[in-house]
């Protein structure tokens, strides 16, 4: 097991998930409850990163973050280090790429919350951030769990974008998924299998934990 890669992957996935929930919740709330026509277009744009092959998306991100782009140059000027091939760059890429995995389930869940409760909250004088935090989110736990799980798992497993933007630099941008990929490319199936197994077992534990949290309601009766 390549522990630095494992740590890097977990950090990246955890941070991506946190950031995406922080961005995704207000965005999904806006999309779910706005009456603006063009929200539909925004919604579609959010899902677009999915359509591009990861490596290709990664390539465009690389160019955008690279030393030749204004953004890349600006970032290098400000921070003294280039954006691409850094953990920050990886994080930005992951966030962009996983955006739909966070926003879509949240949106679907938010849209399913009983409108009368939103009405009640408004009439009781609450602004929408409060309504989201105290009414919508607690009632959207399954959607929240789904968003977190899809984002986390997908970030762990993603390697196309990460490989392109990160450059597979050991300890800095080599994630566990790249590590496994490398093992397979090197025909070291035993190592790949071992790492995969550990990864799967760990993920299984995390997922079961998340899902158990969500399955708290004991229903007297089932379909």
């Amino acid at each position: 097991m390549d522990w630095p890669s494992v740590r890097l992957s977990l950090e990246l996935a955890a941070l991506t998930t946190l950031i995406l929930l922080a961005i995704g919740i207000p965005l999904a709330a806006w999309l779910a409850y706005t009456r603006a026509r063009w929200a539909t277009a925004v919604e579609a744009v959010v899902a677009l990163p999915l359509v591009l092959p990861p490596t290709v998306l990664g390539y465009y991100l690389l160019v955008a973050m690279g030393v030749q782009s204004p953004l890349g140059r600006w970032w290098t000027e400000i921070t003294g280090a280039p954006l691409a091939f850094s953990f920050t760059g990886l994080l930005i890429a992951s966030v962009l790429y996983s955006l739909p995995f966070a926003v879509q389930p949240l949106l679907a869940s938010f849209a399913g919350v009983d409108g009368r409760l939103l009405e009640a909250s408004s009439v009781l004088g609450r602004r929408w951030p409060t309504t989201i935090a105290r009414v919508v989110l607690p009632l959207s736990k399954p959607g929240l769990a789904t968003a977190a799980v899809l984002t986390f798992a997908h970030t762990i497993g993603e390697f196309g974008v990460v490989l392109m933007v990160g450059g597979n630099i050991p300890g800095v941008t080599r994630t566990i998924s790249i590590d496994i990929y490398d093992d397979v490319q090197a025909f070291d199936y035993a190592a790949a299998g071992r790492t995969s197994l550990v990864l799967l077992a760990f993920s299984l534990v995390v997922l079961v934990a998340v899902y158990s949290l969500r399955r708290q309601r004991t229903r007297a009766w089932s379909l």
């Binding site: 690389l62 003294g80 280039p82 490319q185 025909f187």
Partner: protein
């Protein structure tokens, strides 16, 4: 401003001890030995190797990837970087060899040469659109005049390693891959191979360049182009670069 200077200083101290090597995937086994020699000669340097697609490295270095030395599977890529002022000191270090490879127990006899491919249902090669070994394989097939008949049966790997995986997993019953792969430890016993004569395809000259000119990068270049390095590469399925 002071802080920026400090960060730059930190970076430079790091690169003084660490050399990031971007190496073509087919060097995976040979390079370990070469690196250990270079590291022994220059103990203050810590070599970190990344294996991958040469083309992808080109794109990444072009966009500022922090690699210090580039060992490409192609000669033109380092030259492109040099032309753009991103690299210096081009060198040629090996020539790739191409083999016809069939998995153990296959009815196809590789000793019959490329003609044996008429019996194969699935033939794995690297994608000729961007992989040098794929281009070489197609050139060889054309040279033998059987390209048109085998073309519908070709399956393309993302790179030559993936083409080998198709063969190793038994999903393709023959493949045209790099000799460095079939000589590698994991694949040595998986199948039998026959070397495709070098005159059937343009030479697979592998070149490199220094991205940063430091003692560590120079050391690695020197080792890889030294007779010692060439000898190691030869063991792993590369021929000598022709001067």
């Amino acid at each position: 401003c002071l802080m920026v200077a400090a960060v730059i200083a930190a970076c430079s101290t790091q690169s003084a001890t660490r050399v990031n090597v971007a190496a073509a995937a087919d060097l995976r086994y040979a390079l370990d030995e070469i690196i250990s020699i270079a590291a022994a000669r220059n103990p203050s340097v810590d070599y970190a190797v990344t294996y991958g697609s040469s083309g992808q490295f080109l794109q990444q270095i072009d966009n500022g990837a922090p690699f210090d030395i580039y060992l490409s599977a192609d000669v033109t890529y380092p030259q492109q970087l040099i032309a753009r002022g991103k690299a210096s000191d081009p060198f040629v270090y090996a020539v790739g060899r191409l083999v016809l490879w069939v998995p153990e127990g296959s009815p196809i006899d590789p000793a019959q040469g490329l003609a044996a491919l008429s019996q194969a249902q699935r033939i794995a090669i690297a994608n000729p659109e961007h992989a040098p070994y794929g281009q070489a394989a197609v050139a060889a097939l054309r040279a033998e005049g059987i390209y048109d008949s085998v073309a519908p049966r070709l399956v393309l790997g993302e790179n030559v390693a993936q083409a080998a995986e198709f063969v190793a997993s038994g999903n393709a019953d023959a493949g045209i891959v790099a000799m460095s792969l079939v000589l590698s430890d994991p694949l040595r016993d998986v199948g039998t191979w026959w070397e495709i004569p070098a005159q059937l395809f343009p030479p697979l000259v592998q070149g490199g360049a220094l991205i940063t000119d430091t003692p560590g990068t120079r050391e690695l270049r020197d080792v890889i182009t030294s007779p010692e390095g060439i000898e190691i590469l030869a063991r792993y399925g590369f021929t000598l670069p022709e001067e």
